[in-house]
């Protein structure tokens, strides 16, 4: 997989090599009101390199790239293409200069076909402005064949898996002859296998002379693929690094202080099983089973981490436990008390602590003070309330001690919670949920959009809660986090439980499970999976939808073939 797949006839294409592009950002500054998002940033992207911009969420990487792509106008500074200053008044100018961008949230029209999406903005037309999609289809096919993308130009984008949608985005840039491709957090939505394939594609693009600006905060990927690394912190370039540098060194540079990336976690000492879920099914308003017959249990003093690509039923699972879902079948027992059918308030009062996946929507009220947010669950109980009156003094007192205990960086508990940084907001949510005696603790995406420093702290608190003898359930789409925290790992795929495996299960096996392949198969598959030939066979054996003339299917597609066909159909030599 590490060998770049170099198709014949492309690298030697002289015109391609001549038309490379050197890109330089000089003193770029971008202000939004009083916020300084980029502060005199200098970056040089050499032709044919994979240049990584490493930085935490909110460090200003995406802003910088939006400036480069012409979406924002810089407050100061200039962009040079092949040493000539240019000014981009819109993405159209940037594209004309040979810059393409794949946004973190895909810029694809879901109800359009692949061809229509690729054509948009650079349409080939016949006389009279009539669309010539045939021409676009041909171009898509050409690029698709060259890089082995396997994209059907006539598929509706909304029907495509996320990984394929991303390829459509890349095709969009390549059709426009991009010489520099900006990839903004491209792996955030991918399974580990899809990620590996993307890294492979990036190497191929590089070998064809395309430079890549790779924006990421995931150190493993950055180390695997980059030629040069520029580290950005709080809107400033803090230095360059080598891909060969240690992960800890890179992380420390990114955060600005020494960080300990490995969690010191004693082995779990599971006690009795107090939380039991049996045959849980959640039915969406449209009749689909978003959670489909799931059974598992969690012991006191144990962390069960639920892994899976986003949107495979995790949200519905937690909402069902909380009592937020309407149509729930099956049983959820906490301390032998049935939770299905009870109100949210009842569930919370029976000792469930819950950190929702989107803190700004479900976890906090941004315009309320930190102190008020810290008592959202107990504002009507003593000591915060007496009869119908609340006691602000007690609320503030509570806030002070929680802020100290959880190291929330704020001058005062009276500030609106919305003004805090992501990490500090998450600490407020966590502080509130952990300040009651708990019988079950559920944290969904506990460290999403949180700086590395806070991640360390939040992880320690979660483990501390486990060590007090609380059953803990973590839902995370970040495989690193799952592997870090879990004592056992449950993998969800399309609402079904693919399996529960012990901590220490390999990343590859987990990745395949996240694509729906049961553990036993995933383990053997991992052994067999050495080259694409195996996958061809695999895909052809399992997926009836595979066309005979297609050379190979992607991991994800193969995995889906496996998931949709009968279990017997999934066997292979």
């Amino acid at each position: 997989m590490l060998q770049p797949h170099i198709p014949s006839g492309t690298v030697t294409d002289a015109s391609r090599l001549v038309r490379v592009l050197k890109l330089e950002l000089r003193g770029i500054t971008k202000r939004f009101g009083s916020l300084l998002a980029n502060d005199h940033i200098d970056v040089v992207v050499e032709p044919g390199q994979i240049h990584c911009l490493l930085g935490e969420n909110g460090a200003g990487k995406s802003t910088l790239m939006n400036v480069l792509y012409g979406l924002y106008e810089p407050t100061e500074g200039e962009i040079l293409v092949n040493d000539k200053p240019v000014s981009f008044r819109g993405p159209g100018d940037a594209m004309a200069a040979g810059i393409g961008m794949v946004h973190q949230h895909f810029m694809l029209v879901p109800v359009f076909t692949v061809a229509e999406n690729v054509a948009l903005g650079a349409e080939s037309t016949k006389a009279g402005g009539f669309l010539n999609l045939e021409d676009t289809r041909r171009k898509i096919k050409e690029i698709s064949d060259r890089y082995g993308f396997d994209v059907d130009p006539d598929a509706l984008v909304e029907d495509l898996p996320v990984g394929v949608q991303q390829r459509v985005e890349i095709i969009k840039a390549l059709v426009r002859d991009a010489k520099v491709l900006i990839l903004d957090e491209p792996t955030a939505v991918l399974t580990p296998q899809e990620t590996d394939e993307l890294l492979d594609i990036m190497r191929q693009l590089k070998s064809n002379g395309t430079s890549i600006v790779f924006i990421s905060h995931k150190l493993r990927e950055v180390k695997a693929v980059s030629d040069t690394i520029t580290v950005i912190r709080r809107g400033k370039v803090v230095g360059s690094a080598n891909p060969g540098d240690s992960t800890t060194a890179l992380a420390s540079m990114m955060v600005g202080r020494a960080v300990n990336l490995t969690l010191d976690k004693a082995p779990a000492k599971p006690l009795e099983k107090t939380f039991k879920v049996k045959d849980l099914t959640v039915i969406a308003p449209n009749g689909h089973h978003t959670v489909d017959g799931i059974s598992f249990d969690i012991a006191r003093g144990e962390i069960l981490a639920v892994a899976g690509v986003q949107g495979n039923g995790q949200t519905e699972l937690t909402e069902a436990i909380l009592g937020l879902q309407e149509r729930v079948h099956g049983s959820i027992l906490l301390d032998d008390v049935e939770l299905v059918g009870r109100s949210v308030k009842d569930v919370l009062n029976s000792g469930v602590g819950f950190v929702p996946e989107d803190r700004s929507v479900d976890g906090l009220i941004g315009t309320f003070s930190i102190a008020e947010n810290l008592v959202l669950d107990r504002y009507d109980q003593p000591p915060f309330a007496k009869g119908i009156s609340m006691s602000p003094a007690k609320v503030l007192e509570n806030a002070k001690s929680r802020i100290d205990e959880f190291d929330v960086r704020t001058p005062s508990g009276l500030l609106a919670a919305g003004t805090l940084s992501g990490g500090n907001q998450q600490k407020v949510v966590m502080a509130r949920e952990l300040s009651r005696p708990l019988r079950l603790f559920i944290a969904s995406q506990p460290t999403r959009g949180v700086d590395v420093g806070s991640i360390e702290f939040l992880h320690k608190r979660i483990v501390a809660e486990r060590d007090q003898g609380t059953p803990v359930m973590i839902i995370s789409t970040e495989l690193d986090e799952v592997m870090e925290l879990a004592d056992r790992i449950a993998v969800l795929y399309k609402g079904k439980l693919v399996g529960i495996v012990p901590a220490g299960t390999g990343r590859d096996v987990l990745g395949l499970m996240m694509a729906g392949i049961p553990q036993e198969d995933a383990a053997s598959d991992h052994a067999v999976k050495t080259d694409r030939a195996a996958k061809t066979e695999h895909a052809a054996n399992t997926d009836q939808a595979v066309q005979p003339d297609q050379t190979f299917k992607t991991d994800a597609a193969a995995a889906e073939g496996r998931a949709t066909s009968s279990p017997e159909g999934g066997e292979h030599a």
């Binding site: 159209g92 810029m107 009539f130 996320v162 969406a284 009749g287 689909h288 690509v309 039923g313 795929y493």
Partner: protein, 441 residues
Amino acid sequence: MSATATSPLPGRGSPGTAPETGKIQAASGKPVLWKTPVVLSALGIVAFVFFGLMGSGQTAKFGISTGGDFFQLPALEIPAMAGGIVLSVLMLGLAAYAVYLKTQNRPAPAWLTITFTVLFVAAFLIWVVGGARTPSISLAGLIAGSVTLAVPLVFGSLSGVLCERVGVVNIAIEGQLLGGAFTAAIVASITQSPFVGLLAAAVAGAAVSMVLAVFSIKYLVNQIIVGVVLNVLVSGVTGFLFSTVMQENKARFNSPPGLDIVEIPVLSGIPIIGPILFKQSVVGYLMYVAVIVVWVGLFKTKWGLRVRAVGEHPQAADTMGIKVNATRFWNVTLGGAIAGIGGSFFTLVAIDSFTKEISGGRGFIALAALIFGRWNPIGAFFAALLFGFADNLQSIVTIIGTPVPSQFMAMLPYLVTVLAVAGLVGRSRPPAASGIPYVKG
């Protein structure tokens, strides 16, 4: 019709192509519901009891040919009660088939619903005509009249399609129609040229639309509110000018020369189809042209692809170098011009003078037609025809003296509107960014 973005494409459920649960739901379609079989069965029973058992003993007569046709077809004569029973039994059969399909967990196909609707309308017609004092109507007249009444609706809904496809909700269709009607009347009266009046109507409609565009696109005012305010404003201004200017000097300001009916020789003599397609005013012919041009433009050209992209995912369009707000502005303006032409129909073709509120709420029916037609010009055209049909039917039936009180018949177009939009549309999907202003960054 184009399969690109218009229909939800049932049966596209290629299982297992999307890892996200949300996407899976979209891909494999909605589950089969009891709604359609139950509604069809209920309607079938209603038809059997009212149109069949309670039908009149008279024979309903439907004239097909008119005097001008170059060959004559005999009139259809149907005994009312027998006709009602036969048709309602057929309907009940279809309903039973839908129930059977549901038990097999299969949805009722589109042809079934359409055939059922046609049968229901036919049974209703036979019942109403059969019960009238003079049980005879001209089918040709009924249909040709429906098209005529539908003309402003079609223009109005095309305006709505153009605006919503680009992401702006146009509640102001009513105001655009009314503005067009007023301006056409006054300009044609002064210049004594209906064609100048027609042009002026387009300009007036565009002007109303530009106000909507500026406020909703540039100043981000809620589009619904701007639309409603515009309707009230245009109604007030035209009403005021009508009583202060037009009434004072009717000969000079409110007697526009009308647009004559242009008959195409030979072709206009074809029974039923002739009068519909080849015996229209200039505005009527323009309607057919507009429907086709807008449809081809939206689904076959570069312009249309960009317009739809802006209405579905403006950010994606922006990142592809398309100027989102400029596209929106000009499309909304164009929509207004089209609605304005529709408005001129009232004063240049239907009646040759302006009166207060001459558009009479047809802008809102046009809005319903656009939704019923699923944001597709051709769909909107047929939806508008349906409403025109209901409108025309109630006036004809009142004339021939039906036992149903005329007030109830007058409710028919609106009843059809509500039923059509609420029940028959199913889960249609408006352009995703419709009604949402686009702010960069």
